[in-house]
Symmetry: D2
Subunit: 343 residues, 4 copies
């Protein structure tokens, strides 16, 4: 038995832990051989492989990024992409494929299995935690931890000066990182893509915070949008690849609006890629390692077209399509629950 | 409506986050008043209270420990303890009590409700994660993170020298911290209280590790015991308050045994109380805050005798007795799953 | 003997450690009384004071910000400012004043002593490390540590994707944070305010890095400026209060230039205020504590008009004017030394 | 020109940063070739080498430990050790040797140069900071940071319970880590090897602390000894390789003494090897990198028998013998300065 492994999409702390879990158990318990495909689906499309064995995965558990590299190559948008994959899997004598990735990467795996019978197992990955069918994905806890630590640090400045501090965190379509880090960090306003915000309401929270104690901290997901955003922000908005309207630099924009409307100074921190880099948290290593161990079990069981998922404290298997069918966004009730801390 | 709050047992990162969540929601959404009882059940027994309002909980979210203090006072082992509690609750005009604590603290709350009709709501707390009826308790994630970071640091020494490194972590009766941190830290041996270990097997893993790459790291829960421990370790064992045999300083003892049997140098790190101190992780703040928000909802609903619990990503309510009925120990299958990384 | 204490200018990790050192030694060894003035020079100008004794400084050592608050009030730019200070010091029966702050705050202290005989001792503070006459100021080590950790995290993304990562760090007039964190973080390009940069040279380094291994990380101080900046950047530049030309958002601007000229994707992280917040590093606590202990010794010795300073491992006293006479900028030779790591 | 590099003695965060600095500058600016000797002086004695070039040092800056391995081999205690070194250097065509290590490693380098004319340059390394002739050595700041973070965590437990917490830190012959981390962490008692401690005095501080606020934290260097230690502690003491009396497990011993004499519970944390492992602090990376850059400059200048050293903010060169002549211990005045925080 020979198993191919690839990682696709944006990088995410825990990818290497998955790879290590897959290979350690596959080699030691089942005697499988492995081959790594480089840069997501580009690897099988172009036949670009690297050796993957126990020495190759030694020491990678605590390291961010992915030893296999990543890309956004989509074989269904590449001429003869699927045929090339079939040829290259045959050439590499690969009997099954483990695809670690987000919506796009897993979507390809699901179609390759359903339409072409290529035996794929999926491992869900998204820093944004917006994949359905799993309680959490690895990388999310690390990102929330980094954002929370940043908010912690801003509190001391907020205590010493009279400035509004705006923190822009990741989250284009879902506000999980903003919600969790905002709650954990004691933010005074949390703005998420799921609910358009009212700048006047934000300013009212800011004002009430100044009255109650010290300067407010506003956490805003990069995909959050003001009401009437399309009209108000002629130049600042753009459309992303999904055709959604996007506000470029919402943190900076919001800080300026707050300054203009409240007369208070406002400063912005844009955390950017530091949220998805570096060593995974202990939780993410645990989750990613277990995902790896269970993904190779699915291969052994011939249970293809499935992906591993977290349910409570258990790792289960679900059809890949369950994860990619729709985005997992923040439940309005959950957002409202957090509202007690606003202002 | 006036609500009393107390924290009992060992301290645990997240206690203050619970208190803050309870008070913020209780005051702002329900208009309740609050009173803090000092040092666990000692507070209501002796009528020792502190004011508890929004200013009192400001800034405590990221702080370890508990602003209410803690103790192991048990009113059922105190003369007229229950009567004193009833009197003091009446005197303080307290209509309901939120008890945040582990097995002992919650056990008292359950009996006070069932036997004396005192309206109690519980919030589960244990650094060791060994309470049933909840997926996780706050504090555990922080402890695992601290232990994992320590193991990370030991790897570089292990790479540079030929020494066995033993890390003793918390866990008297359950090996959750050892298992999670050992897996997340890439330990080569993990020993837990649930399964007596064979020193020769440990030495075999140590030897195989030396052969494969660099020096091994052994994570041992403080409550782990060797096979035949009672006979072998005349002086080192003691009996704890439950009558269980306990090996004092198992980490140090094991290091000496490994040195004697393998001829390799071994060094011990005893993490001790640093695992339960300091700022809570983002996950623990999130969990503890939500526990607080839901505990005050249980009070509002008059749903007494219950405690809040985590099920997947939801906070639910379960009878307190479900949590205290039996210790949640590591499932043998889960321990075996980790075994692929041993040696 | 009664001593007033104030903190002025931007906040900086370690301010509280200085205050604690001053008060602990002053009370316990010399039997002095203390009074805190609120918000820098605003306190003595307006007679706004807070009690300052041993209980007031308990637990503040590890906390960022300042318990005394801060502002940029300058009594020499306030009508009757100096007279108000004299009156308020007399009213509070203050015999000496310890002023903790940067160029502006210390400059006021020096003039008050020299021109009006008000007995002042200074403690140097600047996150940017740009004060002369002291090897380091507290806060700087913390800021460098935070920036370095951010750069560390970006490396894993750089390894997994083919993107240029730009990190904008603090430093308007001096590049110390950029230089230290860039060197400690293994950045591939470091840009500082002391030397105008050539965008084509930056792009050449970026290209050579891509060839050698993985994607480059560019650290840029917020005050760094391209050659011909004034002409090229009509809209992006502004003049700060010193009349210096300033490029607003140099990180974002540079990322766009790199994208345009090299065709590679570029992403920006703006660390902002998180560099000056949160708990001080161990080094900064040690330095700030010792500054406090030595500042109160200067008061005891009647050695006014002086500030404490670090020389090697010793705390010495120097005339305040030595620190404020000129900005301590990065020596060209030191910057050149770092150049071996560029590209 | 071909340069050999070796690392000797205990591992220390920053060793890899030195190696990288040496190689990057040597190759890029001077066109030198390099060879790595394995495991300290064992490498040149046995002719055990590894290739050392720019790819070999890529990515090692943030990693603890040493890619060259380490040992305590002393060629002067090995039969024909010096002759073997001369032969192996000739065979490897090595023109100069950079030895990175502590007292022992540097002492060998000094003798090889002085007695046998082997062209050596030294780089000082000691986690304990006890080498003369340099303000600091790399690794020390990292160790102090780790110990300080541990002490920070213990404060929250100390606030919540009535327990004495003892932290044993590194430092056999010098108390630098204990002093710096104790001061930075706000410890209530600091005990160092340079001054024998009086257990009754320790208990008095403990008692006064309990009275003033919350439970005390005692930081004790592993080499600290009680007065009359030799007589009192028959079994617990041993003699180290220098013939000095050593108390094994002083932290554990002291906790028991405090319990016995004060009746208060006491708990011990032994940090052990986690103080010398893991990623170096930003300060240590900066210092180690600059040591590397200046060491290769010394080779270029033919300035042998010297080692690089930190003086203030400058890197200078001093005779190796200046560093190894005597241990740099804590000045009594400095220890007394810290005494204001005891009790």
């Amino acid at each position: 038995m020979k198993v191919g492994v690839l990682t696709g999409g944006g990088d995410c702390p825990g990818l290497n832990a998955v790879i290590r879990g897959v290979v350690r158990k596959g080699v030691q318990e089942y005697g499988y051989g492995f081959v790594g495909f480089k840069d997501g689906w580009r690897g099988p499309v172009e036949g670009d492989t690297v050796p993957l064995d126990i020495p190759a995965v030694r020491g990678i558990l605590p390291r961010g990024g992915t030893i296999l590299g990543s890309s956004r190559t989509n074989p269904f948008k590449t001429e003869n992409g699927v045929r090339a994959i079939k040829d290259n899997l045959a050439k590499a004598e690969v009997d099954a494929l483990i695809a670690i990735g987000g919506e796009d990467t897993l979507g390809v795996a699901a179609r390759l299995y359903e339409e072409y019978g290529i035996p794929c197992v999926g491992v869900p990955k998204t820093i944004d935690n917006d994949l359905s069918a799993t309680d959490y994905t690895f990388g999310f806890d690390t990102a929330v931890g980094i954002a929370t630590e940043a908010i912690d640090r801003l509190h001391t400045t907020a205590e010493s000066h009279m400035r509004v501090l705006v923190v822009e965190v990741m989250g284009r379509h879902a506000g999980w990182i903003a919600l969790h880090s905002g709650l954990a960090g004691g933010a005074n306003v949390i703005l998420i893509p799921e609910q358009r915000f009212d700048v006047d309401q934000v300013c009212a929270w800011v004002a009430s915070r100044f009255k109650a104690s010290y300067a407010p901290i506003v956490v805003v997901a990069e995909g959050a949008m003001p009401k009437d955003g399309d009209l108000v922000l002629k130049d600042a908005v753009s459309r992303d690849s999904f055709g959604h309207v996007r506000l470029s630099g919402v943190g900076e924009w919001l800080a300026k609006e707050i300054e203009a409307r409240t007369g208070k100074e406002a400063r912005t921190t844009v955390l950017g890629h530091i949220q998805r880099g570096g060593t995974p948290s202990a939780f993410d290593r645990w989750l990613a390692t277990r995902f790896g161990l269970h993904a190779i079990d699915a291969v052994r069981d011939g249970d293809f077209g499935k992906m591993v998922a977290l349910k409570g404290t258990d790792i289960v298997r679900v059809p890949i399509a369950d994860a990619t069918a729709r985005l997992k966004t923040v439940d309005p009730a959950l957002y409202e629950e957090a509202g007690v801390f606003f202002g």
